[in-house]
Symmetry: C2
Subunit: 214 residues, 2 copies
């Protein structure tokens, strides 16, 4: 297979799930897994697992399966999560606070190294070992601390301005938790997470099954 071809986005979006399953397999002392087992653990199908993995290299052994440790290393390398990525959180409301306390991020190599808010009452207070800074300091602090990813956890109205500030500070990757569309330069990657959107999709599903029942 042509290893210079770029990996499809759909595949990239599944790699983190594979990684999670493999770490679980490793915790259970399984030295090897086959594509069926991965598919079952991740809720996918075996052919897709094989095709996805084939995009990142010939990693398996025919007749045997995949070496768990090897695969973990490979996927981690492809995802660029070999070392700790430095992350900043903008918006220290209840959601921002939940992020600071969430152990799942450092466990996966994402270290929150700065928190910002523009509420004077919060600035200067302590947040899980960090001091909340004013949003006017985003520019200088993100550069000083080598932040690569910003998580926006502000209300919708403040999200665009927060994005402008982190982009001005050189950040090229944003995880947006605010229910707002961000307008940023084409070389900045944005991923949107919106609970209300997901709830609305579930709501559609409920409306569908309700209809066919009647």
């Amino acid at each position: 297979m042509d290893r210079n071809a770029q990996i499809p986005l759909a595949t990239i979006q599944r790699l983190p799930a594979y990684l999670r399953c493999l770490l679980q397999a490793q915790a259970q002392q399984m030295p090897l897994v086959n594509s069926n087992q991965i598919a079952e653990m991740c809720g996918g199908n075996a052919a897709q697992v094989r095709k996805d993995l084939s995009y990142i290299g010939e990693l398996g052994t025919r007749g045997i399966g995949y070496d768990v440790g090897d695969l973990i290393g490979h996927i981690s390398r492809v995802l660029g999560i070999v070392e700790g990525r430095r992350v900043a959180v903008v918006g220290y409301g209840r959601l921002g606070s939940a992020l600071l306390g969430y152990s799942g991020l450092p466990e996966r190599g994402f270290d929150i190294v700065a928190v910002f808010d523009n509420d004077a009452a919060k600035i200067g207070t302590s947040a899980d070992g960090l001091i909340v800074l004013g949003t006017d300091r985003i520019g200088s602090e993100l550069r000083d601390r080598g932040v690569e990813i910003a998580i926006i956890a502000t209300p919708a109205e403040a999200a665009q301005e927060a994005a402008n500030k982190v982009v001005a500070a050189g950040v090229k990757a944003i995880l947006n938790l605010a229910p707002a569309v961000l307008n940023v330069a084409a070389d900045v990657a944005v991923r949107q997470v919106s609970l209300s959107t997901d709830l609305q999709i579930l709501s559609f599903y409920l409306a569908q099954v309700g209809k066919s029942d009647s």
Copy 2:
């Protein structure tokens, strides 16, 4: 167009974004919008907006555009969010607490009517007007309160058991915020939200641009 054909999933996933933009347009007193304006506000493209909307009906006027109020009504009806949907939260950690305090959910018609946790220290305490209940009461309370959607905000280890309980209580739609794959019956819809997954995808993007720079 055949209105009995089912709406593509990809379209459904964009409808909530359109709805959000339309509500914004309405707040700005705009009576009409055209597909270009919607596309610009949501970060999509005009042809796609038109095709998506055509799946749910002939809603526009050629030469003119779409009536904002009409479209809002139509999309809301398709998404089944005309009335308040009853939602329960399982897991009252920092994330669960952030959900209870998040005004965006009731604003969009999702009312949190119950919270559960299995930590004895939390049971019985007050959570934004609700009392935290033990997870052993999920079965009875979800039925009593007419809950249709469950949000799982437990640690990964507890997620499957939480899912089993809410499914046993008749819930057919789950929003899973725990980093774990849920195994549920085929007639239960699950949507997975995972911040670490999204961060890993952003990390891949950073690794890519870093590579081509060198």
